[in-house]
Amino acid sequence: MTDIILRTINLTKRYKNRLAVDHLNIEVRQGEIFGFLGPNGAGKSTTIRMILRLIFPTEGDVEIFGASLKEAGHRALERVGAVVEKPAFYGHLSALRNMEILGGLQKPVSRRKIMKYLERVELADRAGDPVKTYSHGMNQRLGLALILLKEPQLIILDEPTTGLDPQGMKEVRELILELSRERGVTVLLSSHLLYEVEMIATRMAIIHHGRLRVEGSVNDLLKKGPSGVLIKADRPAEAIQFLKTNESYRSARIHSDGGINIELDQDSIPELNRQLVNAGFNIKALVPQRSLETYFLNLIEGHEGADNP
């Protein structure tokens, strides 16, 4: 018995001379939120479209709930719900009608059930309005309601927060976490936003130029990169001098925005704060530096050089 819900096996897509995805092997396990990360044009959307059978691979296969996409075809997607890029609906129809049509392709869905999920994404009061009158954020929420309507066991989200305001992004993240924690739904989340993946994913893969660069738990990957803190204090020059007297803070240097940057274990931040305050400095902010970001950038930039000698 395996707990692998989704597996890509040497998944490859070639467009004439361009290799969009190159022998990609990733595994998504039961119940996890899997971050699928990469810069724009890395091959994330192509991979997701191949998983969802929107695009046919040049080579390789996808296994969903143990079924080969090549062999099972569309039947492999029975327990999968997905939003690929910007959700698109029939603009001249109402949200209710869109949900009836797109949610009822396999089996009819009751209006009561549709309204339940429209309420969940706070669109119930606009259920009768044509979707073309909806904002981008409302479209995103409608897309999520459509996924929920299907009650899938695997949710695939391709850049789900693109174009959303901060509140909308937060709501989407919370919904993903809720689905994962409360319903045990497995989520494959594609994003180019590192912090988004870092905030909610349990495991992740980074692809670049169509190739898998790294795959592992977010915690493990966090440990791989250097961590640090950005200090916003008054009298930064004096603060640096003070910090350099301590062996642990030797890496302190002035950051481009006038703050002080130190390579430091995240657990040591409270002690650093205490020492600065006791020495009479006013601390305006302590911003933990995203080690994953540094790691990600190093990884991408490193391969950039390797890929383009």
Binding site: R49, L52, R53, L54, I55, F56, G73, H74, R75, A76, L77, E78, V80, A82, V83, V84, E85, K86, P87, A88, F89, Y90, G91, H92, L93, R97, E100, I101, L102, G104, L105, Q106, P108, G143, L146, K150
Partner: protein, 279 residues
């Protein structure tokens, strides 16, 4: 499958572009009938009847509703494809352009079923449009000019008794519908190739216009190509007004038109089943 067809019917018949054709013919046909009633009928009398009166004694109401119904069918069959392509060309390309395939095709429903439902709805729209035009032209013509025997000038002059006409017109509309099914199927096929619904409309009309030119010009080379062009069989509906009715030729025309329709649909299915959805 019935639910898929129902969904496609909702999508198609709730869009305003679906009604452009109905509105266009709903305006043009009454305008022409009014024009005929207000004097246009006299030009027919002058040009047609005066010619015939040299050799025949003409009695009764010859320029009647059936006559103008027949005239309308002959005059409009080139124009009907334009309105059909507006809907047929949008069936697949429209979904691609809007990006709705990203939801539609990521469910556990086969592409073949989805495209088949779309095709059936395209045929339903085509049949409704042809029957609407037929009903409107015959209905208004009979209301404005009354009934009577039909004078048909094709291979000679033929007078068909009024009692046979409803049956013959019904058959003629059936054959005209089949011919228009071929137009819609071709446009549907072109629609599978692209994400822009203007392309299939232009491509279909281009094929029809070029084909009509080919079958009209009396060049030997063009005449040799003629049997392979579907527009060559578009006049099958007129043959039911011949005497005797050439049933063998009509049956052949039906088979060929149906063959074109099936071939276009199957090509669309094969292509779309493996098409990468990039929109």
């Amino acid at each position: 499958m019935i639910r898929l067809i129902w969904f496609e019917l909702i999508k198609t018949f709730t869009r305003w572009r679906t009604y452009i054709g109905f509105m266009a013919f709903g305006i043009i046909v009454p305008m022409v009938v009014i024009g005929l009633k207000l004097g246009g009928q006299n030009s027919f009398k002058r040009s047609l009847l005066s010619l015939l009166q040299n050799d025949f004694i003409i009695g009764g109401n010859v320029l009647n509703g059936w006559f103008f119904g027949f005239f309308f069918m002959g005059a409009l069959w080139v124009h009907v494809p334009i309105v059909l392509t507006i809907v047929a060309g949008d069936q697949i390309a429209g979904e691609g352009n809007a990006g709705t395939f990203r939801f539609l095709l990521t469910h556990s429903v086969s592409r073949i079923r989805i495209i088949t439902a779309k095709f059936i709805v395209t045929l339903i729209y085509t049949a409704v449009m042809v029957l609407f035009i037929g009903g409107l032209t015959i209905g208004l013509s009979l209301w404005a000019f009354g009934g009577g025997d039909l004078l048909v000038i094709r291979k000679g002059i033929l007078v068909i008794q009024e009692t046979r006409l409803p049956y013959l017109f019904l058959m003629a509309y059936g054959l005209a519908t089949l011919a228009m099914f071929v137009v819609s199927s071709l446009c549907f096929l072109f629609s599978a190739f692209t994400d822009n619904s203007i392309g299939p409309i232009i491509a279909t009309m281009a094929v029809i216009i070029v084909s009509i030119i080919i079958i009209t010009l009396p060049f030997e080379l063009f005449q040799a190509v003629r049997p392979y062009l579907f527009v060559n069989y578009f006049d099958a509906w007129q043959k039911v007004f011949d005497d005797p009715v050439p049933w063998n030729i009509i049956r052949r025309d039906i088979t060929i038109l149906a063959g074109f329709m099936v071939a276009f649909f199957l090509t669309a299915v094969v292509y779309f089943s493996r098409k990468d959805i990039l929109s």
